[in-house]
Structure formats: C-alpha cells, structure tokens
Amino acid sequence: MTDTAQSPGGFALGRRILPLALLSPAVIVTLAIVFFPMAQTAWMSLHEYILFRPNDFDFIGLENFMAALADEVFWISLWHTVIWIFLTIPAQLLLGLVTALILNQNFPWRPIARALIIIPWALPSVVIALMWVWMYDSNYGIINDTLLRLDIINAAVPWLANPDTALYAIILTLTWQGFPFFAVMILAALQSIPKSYYEAAAIDGASRWNQFRHITLPGISGVLVTAVLLRTIWVANSIDVIYVMTGGGPGYATYTLPLYAFVKARANLDFGYGSALAVMFTLMLMGLVVVYLTRVGKALR
C-alpha cells in the first residue's frame, strides 16, 4: 500500500510520473534510432548530398523533388509499384482465403498442414529470392524444364532476364511468400464465427454459396480489410526479394519506387536524391497508413 498511503498530492504525482518513467527507455531509444534519423532523411532530401563528396552539403530546397518529377525512371518505378501492389495483394488474398477455408474443415492431418503452410513466412527473404532464381534459371531451372516437358513452351524462357516477364516472375515469388499470412489471419477470423449460424442456415435450406456470402464473408470482412491494408503497406515497402532476384533489372524492368531510392543511394551514393525519393514514397503511403491507424485507434478506445 506504499503509494496509496501517501498524501493525495504525492499519490497523484507518483501515478503520473511512474508510467512515464516506465515508458521512457522505449520512447527515448525510438526517438534516437527512428525518429531522429527519419527527420535527417527529410533534411538530406533538401540538399545536394553525394557521399563521395562528403564536404558538399548544399541546401537546394525542393530541387531533388522537382528532378524526380522530371525523371523518367521515377515514373517507371511508380507504375511498377502500382502493378506490383495490385497484382500481388489480390493474389495473396485469394490464395490465402482458399487455404484458410480448407484449413477450417475437419481432416485428420489439419494441425500438420497448418504448421507447414507458414514455412515461407519464416524463411529469410534472401533464401527465398535465391531459390526462386534457381527455379527460374533458363538453362537448368525446374520451371522451364517442367513447362518444356509438358509442351507448354517451345523454348526455355529466361524469366528473370526478359523485361516482359521479370516483374511478373517476382510477383509470383512474393505471392508465394505472403499468402500464408493471409491464410493464418483469415483462419483465425473463420474460427471466431459461431458454428450455430451455419447450422441455423442449413436448417433453413441455405445453399453453401449463400452460407458463404451471408455468414462467412461478413464474419471475416473486418479482418480482410485490416489484413489487406497491412499487407499492402508491407508489400509496397519490401525490396529485399526484388533486390536479390534482379537488382531492378533487366534495364528498369523491375524497379519499384523504394528500390529506386535504395539503388540510387547505394550504387550512385546520391543520398540527397535517394532521400527525396524515399520521402516521396513515404508520403504516398501515408494515406494507407492513416486509414490503418484510424482502424486500430478505434479498437483501442
């Protein structure tokens, strides 16, 4: 009873300070290693800053941003980012939904299937990228080999070296990596729908499809929206798989906006321009982030 035994004033002060004291390590550390560096990115984006000329740090206002808008590669990368999101997310969602619906049935080996399905999610993205590069290989890859044997193609296709197929090949890899997340999230939501709803519907003679439309979909719609938002943000941000698989090539065929920012800074050491690209991309993503945060914020209330 130590803190309640004190005077009302001391008690209130203690109650007010203690949570702040408990929070301070996490807050201070994140300020130092997250928010301060982010502010620095914004600051760098307003400067001409090329790393091999470290003494030149000239303030140029919004010139980097203007340069980006006039940069053809910026628009190519932006377009790829749009394709990237609008193909990957629906593919992950659909495959995840089907997987979750199956995992929600009763069959003897369900626990094993549920555990194994998540494996892609636990693998390092470098390993994922490399094993898919190996499968896509134009000389010895299993994908070309299989398609040739099945007579679907006449000659081996260099999936990752061909500008027309490279982006889609990577999208398939990303779908493979990300659909288990959807499956697991949707499965959790499915299991929270009371069985009695389905029993009642079955008694009333509702078809399977109608049960799905009027019970299952409404029951999981909240999770679907949350998962889509969350995944969209992650997929938009993720560059490691692309970077390892093609490095953005051939040409600019697999550049996405964050990848362009990264390559600009890493290969050209142009940190000013790279920062400007990163800031622009973040601002575009902000809309989604705000929607997501409002949803979570409401639930916290």
């Binding site: 130590t2 996490a26 636990a122 390993v127 010895y140 080999d145 964050p258 990264f262 993503l285 982030v289």
Partner: protein, 277 residues
C-alpha cells in the same frame, strides 16, 4: 455405411487433395532447394538434382572453405543482441501501456505501430550516415541498433497485448500485500509473462536473423551475417548452385526450427493483435 463412405470420398476430393496441392506449392521450392543442395556438383548440370547418390559435399565445403560458421556466429550475436535490447526496453513500456491510463497513451501506442510501416529505405540512408559518423560501420553494434528499430515497436505491441490478458486484480492483490508497483511488476506480472516474453523474443530473433538490407548496408566486410554471406556466394564462385542452396538451407534452418516450435503461440499472438485491429 454407404453415406459415410461417400462423405469420406467427398472430403478427400474437396479438402485433402486441394490442401495437398497448396502444400506442394508451399513446400516445393524449399524441397527443390534441399534436393539441389545434396546433389553432386558435377551431376547437377547433367542429370539434374536428385536424391540418388546424395552427398553432403556442399555442406562440408560451406563450413570448411567458405567459413560459414563465422557468418553464423555474426548472425547469432546480432540476433541475440537485438533480442536483449528489444525485450528490455519494451517490457516496462508494455506494463505502462497495459496498467496505466495517462494523457497521450493512445497516441504513443500508435506511434510505436506506425514505425514499422515506414519504408526501410527511409531509415537505412540516415542510419548509414549516422553509423559512419559514429565510426560504427561494420560492427555488430550497428546492426543490433538497426534491427532494434524493427524489434522495439513490435515487442511493445506484442507484450502490451500479452499483459492485457493478465488480470489487473493480481497486481492489486500484490500491492495490498505490501508490494510497490515495481514490486508487483517484477514479482507477479513478469513471471506470468514468461511465455509471452519467450514468444516475442523468438520472433525478434527470427526477424533479426533473416534481416538482409541493413546487414548489407551497415555490415559486409568484417561483420557478415548469414544472409549477406549466402548472397555473396553468387559473386565469388560464379553461380555454384549446390553450394548456394546448401547455404540457403543452413541459413534458413534456425529460424524455421524456432518458428515451428513456437508457431502456435506466435500465431495466436500475431492474429489477436490483428483481429482486434
């Protein structure tokens, strides 16, 4: 009898077979990588990968010639360090979030959530500049700090949701018995949190072990975690797929095994947060 039989057939057609197909898609690439890694280099390009005449040559080379063990050690130090940093600063914060109401609580909690939504490029560039100024480039510490940017927000959220599940009446009872607030945290809440702490710690470990872009940018020469090491196999030896896939299997092993061990608890924790969201 007939009905039962027909329903089993039906189940196999609509559930078991589709599930098998999805699992084949999920595990196929991984198995293919494994089979490649145990195929003799000379046979890889003639007869293709196969389990016949399996050999561990690639793995032996990986450790004897490439020195994979020291890469694994680097990864272990970095991932372990990140776990320690991530857990220590987040446990007290999670306690504050779960037990007190104070002005700005929601905003602060959301602030931790938003961190993980920023693109990594936004952080990677200034962190590189920062580490260069501090002379920390190519050290374990730099990578522990960088990985903490991901680990801290995540574990604050995970631990808060875990602590919310522990009844407040337990702390209150302890305080009635003469514990201080901190005493209640250390003696009552923490011991009950051990499963949550372990799950969070393992998740941090997996993420830090798997991390690639920070490792590539802030490390690379003397500190070369496993993800970077696997990737550099491409350049140094042309593309020796046998060696490379062996590296992939070894690199993925610790995270995969840990994941399978804790997957149930981890998934319920992760989805709980998301379903609530």
């Amino acid at each position: 009898m007939m009905v039962a039989k027909r329903s089993v057939v039906r189940r196999i057609l609509t559930v078991d077979l589709p599930m098998l197909a999805i699992l084949a898609f999920t595990l196929g690439p991984y198995l293919w990588m494994f089979i490649t890694s145990i195929t003799q280099e000379s046979r890889l390009f003639t007869t293709g990968p196969s389990v016949i005449g399996a050999t561990l040559d690639n793995y032996r080379q990986l450790f004897e010639k490439v020195g994979f063990l020291s890469n694994m050690l680097d990864s272990l130090i970095i991932a372990g360090g990140t776990v320690v940093v991530g857990l220590t600063v987040s446990v007290t914060a999670a306690y504050a979030f779960s037990r007190f109401s104070f002005p700005g609580r929601r905003a602060l909690l959301l602030q931790f959530l938003v961190i993980n939504m920023f693109p990594i490029v936004l952080l990677i560039l200034p962190l590189f500049v920062l580490m260069r100024v501090l002379g920390l480039l190519d050290t374990h510490l730099a990578l522990i700090i960088a990985n903490s940017t991901i680990a801290i927000p995540f574990s604050v959220w995970m631990m808060t949701s875990y602590m919310n599940g522990i009844p407040r009446s337990l702390d209150e009872a302890a305080m009635t018995d003469g514990c201080t607030r901190l005493g209640a945290l250390v003696r009552v809440v923490l011991p009950l949190c051990v499963p949550g702490i372990i799950a969070t710690g393992i998740y941090i470990f997996i993420t830090a072990w798997n991390e690639y872009l920070y490792a590539l940018t802030l490390g690379g020469r003397s500190v070369r975690p496993i993800t970077v090491a696997v990737q550099t196999l491409i350049g140094e030896y042309e593309i020796r797929w046998g060696l490379l896939t062996a590296g992939g299997i070894v690199g993925a092993m610790p995270a995969t095994v840990l994941f399978l061990i804790v997957q149930r608890r981890l998934i319920s924790g992760l989805t709980q947060g998301a379903v609530k969201g």
